[in-house]
């Protein structure tokens, strides 16, 4: 966890410190055995009744309570843009992109939580219904995406992990963060 923005440490870590501590306690014994396996950290979030996650390394910060300025004639999964300390960042309707039902509060312009993620090329704020835990999983625990997903969903969900009785979809940021309209 060396390459995490200090801001995330603040916001994410403070939110989930308790959970982490509890998890750490319960996992303490198991970890000893698994210490050699390659691990990576995920930040979970809820969309409607489902859980998804992005790699912590791709998360820049968490942005709360903001107003989105809408931009005309953008794809429907782009809600608009926000101003984060002078930088304009697009707001992605994650649920619409993946094609599932969310809490549906997106009709208004006030949003509660978004995870600002970045790739080498792009930055975007993913709107989520609820920010969840940070979990550490083994690399080999990632399963291929569900066969029930249709093609367009598979593009945005690259796999899934099964944790504590919950199936968590891994969001394929490479696809989500593809520049929009670049060739036009």
């Amino acid at each position: 966890m060396t390459d995490i923005d200090p801001l995330i440490r603040q916001s994410v870590a403070s939110q989930s410190l308790d959970i982490l501590r509890k998890r750490a306690e319960s996992l303490a014994q198991v970890e000893e055995i698994e210490a050699t396996a390659e691990m990576f950290a995920l930040l979970c979030f809820r969309l409607g009744s489902e859980w998804y996650a992005v790699r912590i390394a791709d998360v820049r910060e968490i942005h709360n309570d903001f107003v989105v300025a809408s931009i005309p004639r953008v794809p429907s999964f782009i809600l608009g843009v926000i101003n984060v300390r002078g930088e304009i960042i697009s707001v992605t309707d994650t649920a619409a992109l993946i094609g599932i039902a969310s809490d549906g509060v997106h009709g208004g312009q006030e949003m509660s939580s978004a995870i600002i993620v970045h790739s080498e090329l792009c930055v975007s704020a993913l709107v989520v219904d609820e920010i969840g835990d940070i979990i550490e999983i083994r690399k080999d625990a990632v399963e291929p995406p569900l066969s029930t997903y249709d093609r367009s969903q598979v593009e945005f969900v690259s796999g899934s992990v099964y944790v504590d009785g919950r199936l968590i979809g891994l969001v394929n940021l490479e696809k989500v963060l593809e520049p929009i309209g670049e060739k036009a």
Partner: protein, 755 residues
């Protein structure tokens, strides 16, 4: 121990080398005309020397060897053993180009592609027959490095030693007066982002000061009211007074304290805010100036470019540069290079006559192109003047008529000036894409479009037949700040650059005339088509108060259009920000700005708006062919593209133009669809795709008897000539690169190929 990361240094070297190479290139040109220029010779010697040393430091031995030979030559020139001859320039350029190539391919083995020993040999010959037998080229890096750092080289001592010494002394001197630092532009931009946030909070502060003042006024009123109430209470009071008196006294004290304190705070706050206002304004101005660079940073590559062009077109041309120290925003500078190169290519190719023609016309054999920059108010004017044949308006008329661009009658009624302007009209020079394939360069319409859309400037032409042509480029100093008109549409604010707004007015509904299902108004003996901005932007209609319709008239490339809005919301200076890295391109929106209150407002792209408005209403500009709706309806396109967003974008472009669209997410699936019998009129494909690339797909289609007739259009970001060549070799009918791609070119190209 941390591993030595050479790649990071190579990047640094490449950045640094660009500067030296640039200067050496310029130097060669100047030296041709002024072979005795001592200062220049010294500087070129220094640059070659530094290049040699830094290349060696990062392990690019081949570059170091080539630079070393250049240094050898310059040493001899400096010592007077060798006189700089113009014929030496070719070897110099060859060497400099080689260094550029080697630097770009740093770390790769390119010995198969280029012959360095041969070049070194040729450079050795230039340095003179008595040149030392290349000891350094073969010396091990360590030895050389050592020799260098100790400032004395073992080789031909008598000549090199003193000059070497001088070089090093001067370098030390330079280091001491070094007063600039290199900063990544990204960092400057981040800083400017923060500065604009400070500006916004300053504006909010100023609002707070006003709020405090009104609070103060409120408190004054309360005080006066209290004084009245207290005196009334004193009179009307009957019964137990003591406790009430105490309360009144306390309240009295509180109120006056409160009032006094509020007064102090309000005053101090107002003072502080006005002090910081001037600091913030200064900060903003200086921040913006960080991005300003002299135009010479771009101009300095042109002498070499013009020399190469002159050679290519077999002309004799000299380039004169004026006003190189005029400063421009870095972003503008970056964008200005390409249009200027195109203009100069045109000047060399079409402007300047052949030597024989010039002599016959009584002109000096050598043609002159003058490149001059100057500041005029908040604009920069750049003029490219050639003393060539000029633009013959009759020839332009004839060409325009021949291409079906205008009718004979229209041509006859045009003034010479209007006729010359035809060179800027879209489609006058044959299409950007098809010509790009044949390598004939880009038409002036594309140059002009670029200047207007990207640089928010204008391009004009003046020409005297037989005397020459002047192209005048007028562009704003910075792209970061513009004046904008704010309008309200469907409850949302939008900004329109004032530069493209012709007028604003309120139209009586009765003035609106309906013609062929379209709405127009008559204004100053012209008919202006009306479009509702909310329709173009795809926004909901909401009820608006007032009977008169607020309208903004915009003009672009000679066309006017009136956009109906819900309300005007003032005019102001705005700072342009991009839509962020994710939204690389959005129709109709050029960027956003943040208003004082922190509200984000989209800035509209006027040419784009007019284009979409035309699509929306089925309006067509004068010369565009009428859409053959019935024909188009039956046409089908196959799009092969692995990127979801690009695929959907292309789909929407074609669907909007009335095509049926089939898609495939890679070449293999696309080919399978075609082989299964899918009938399409054209295939539009990306290059880099999994399973089967666009080139492979093209080859497969063109190699299949049943499919070979289908036109294939490659749309890609690969812009290198070799890649284009590969696309054409594969049999592609058109190759559209990202830089010229927009929906018009795409549709135009496809329609031309299908026809």
């Amino acid at each position: 121990m941390v591993e030595f990361d050479r790649s990071a240094f190579i990047k640094k070297f490449q950045e640094e080398a660009t500067e030296y190479l640039q200067r050496l290139n310029e130097g060669v040109i100047t030296l041709e005309g002024d072979p005795e220029n001592r200062a220049l010779i010294d500087q070129m010697l220094r640059d070659a020397h530094t290049l040699k040393g830094s290349a060696r430091m990062v392990g690019l031995i081949e570059i170091s060897d080539v630079a070393h030979r250049l240094e050898d030559i310059m040493v001899k020139v400096r010592e007077g053993e060798l006189r700089y001859e113009p014929k030496m320039s070719d070897s110099f350029f060859e060497a400099l180009d080689m260094i550029v190539f080697l630097s770009e391919n740093a770390g790769k083995d390119v010995s198969g592609e280029v012959d360095i020993p041969a070049l070194l040999g040729r450079l050795g010959t230039v340095a003179g027959a008595e040149a030392e037998p290349a000891p350094v080229a073969t010396a091990s890096p360590e030895e050389e490095l050592q020799a260098d750092t100790e400032t004395h080289e073992s080789a031909p001592a008598s000549v090199q030693k003193p000059s070497k010494k001088a070089v090093h002394d001067e370098e030390k001197l330079q280091a001491r007066v070094q007063n600039t630092i290199r900063v990544r532009t990204e960092q400057v931009d981040k800083l400017l982002n923060l500065v604009s946030e400070v500006v916004i909070s300053q504006i909010k502060d100023e609002q707070r000061v006003r709020d405090l003042r009104s609070l103060q006024a409120l408190s004054n009123e309360t005080q006066q009211m209290w004084v009245r109430v207290r005196s009334l209470a004193a009179i009307a009071q009957a019964g137990p007074r003591e406790s009430l008196d105490e309360d009144i006294e306390a309240l009295d004290q509180l109120l006056s304290d409160q009032r006094r304190q509020l007064g102090v705070i309000a005053k101090e706050y107002a003072d502080d805010t006005s002090r910081s206002a001037s600091v913030v304004a200064d900060l903003q101005e200086r921040g913006m100036s960080l991005r300003m660079l002299p135009v010479s940073t771009v101009f300095s590559t042109f002498p070499r470019a013009v020399r190469d062009l002159a050679k290519q077109f077999n002309k004799d041309v000299e380039l004169e540069i004026e006003g190189g120290d005029t400063e421009l925003d870095k972003k503008v500078l970056e964008e200005i290079n390409d249009p200027l190169i195109h203009i100069m290519r045109n000047a060399v190719d079409h402007g300047i006559e052949s030597v024989a023609d010039r002599v016959a016309a009584g002109k000096p054999a050598k043609g002159t192109i003058r490149l001059a920059a100057r500041q005029e108010g908040d604009h920069i004017v750049i003029e490219v003047t050639d003393d060539g044949a000029g633009i013959d308006p009759d020839k332009v008329r004839a060409a325009a008529v021949r291409k079906g661009h205008i009718s004979q009658a229209e041509a006859a009624s045009m003034s010479d000036r209007e006729a010359r302007y035809l060179i800027f009209d879209a489609g006058f020079s044959t299409s950007a894409i098809i010509t790009e394939i044949s390598g004939r360069g880009v038409g002036m319409d594309v140059v002009r479009e670029f200047v207007v859309v990207k640089l928010k400037g204008s391009l004009d032409v003046e020409s005297v037949p037989g005397k020459g042509t002047t192209l005048k480029l007028t562009i704003p100093l910075t792209l970061a700040i513009i004046r904008a008109l704010l309008v309200r549409v469907s409850g949302q604010l939008f900004a329109l650059p004032t530069s493209s707004v012709e007028e604003t007015l309120r139209v009586e509904p009765s003035e609106v005339i309906r013609v062929e299902g379209r709405e127009v108004i008559r204004r100053q003996r012209r008919t202006i088509p009306l479009v509702r901005l909310r329709d173009v932007l795809g926004l909901e209609s909401i009820p608006v108060e007032g009977k008169k319709l607020p309208m903004v008239t915009v003009g672009f490339s000679g066309h006017r259009m009136g956009f109906l809005v819900d309300a005007f919301a003032g005019e102001q200076q705005i700072v342009i920000k991009t839509l962020g890295s994710h939204l690389a391109h959005v129709d109709n929106v050029a960027g956003v700005t943040i208003l004082g209150a922190g509200e984000i407002v989209p800035i509209l792209n006027v040419p784009d708006l007019m284009h979409h408005a035309r699509q929306l209403t089925g309006m067509r500009v004068r010369h565009e062919p009428v859409v053959r709706t019935s024909e188009v309806g039956s046409k089908r396109i196959l799009i092969c593209e692995d990127s979801f967003t690009t695929r959907e974008l292309e789909r929407s472009i074609f669907e909007a133009a009335g095509y049926e669209v089939e898609t495939a997410i890679d070449g293999a699936l696309g080919l399978a669809k075609l082989r299964e019998g899918l009938k399409v009129n054209a295939v539009v494909t990306d290059v880099q795709m999994p399973n089967m690339t666009g080139f492979e797909l093209t080859r497969a289609i063109k190699g299949d008897e049943l499919l070979a007739h289908i036109p294939v259009i490659i749309v890609t970001s690969l812009e290198r000539e070799e890649e284009k060549a590969e696309g054409i070799n594969a049999g592609a009918d058109a190759y559209i690169t990202k830089s010229v791609f927009n929906q018009d070119t795409l549709i135009d190209t496809v329609e031309r190929l299908i026809r």
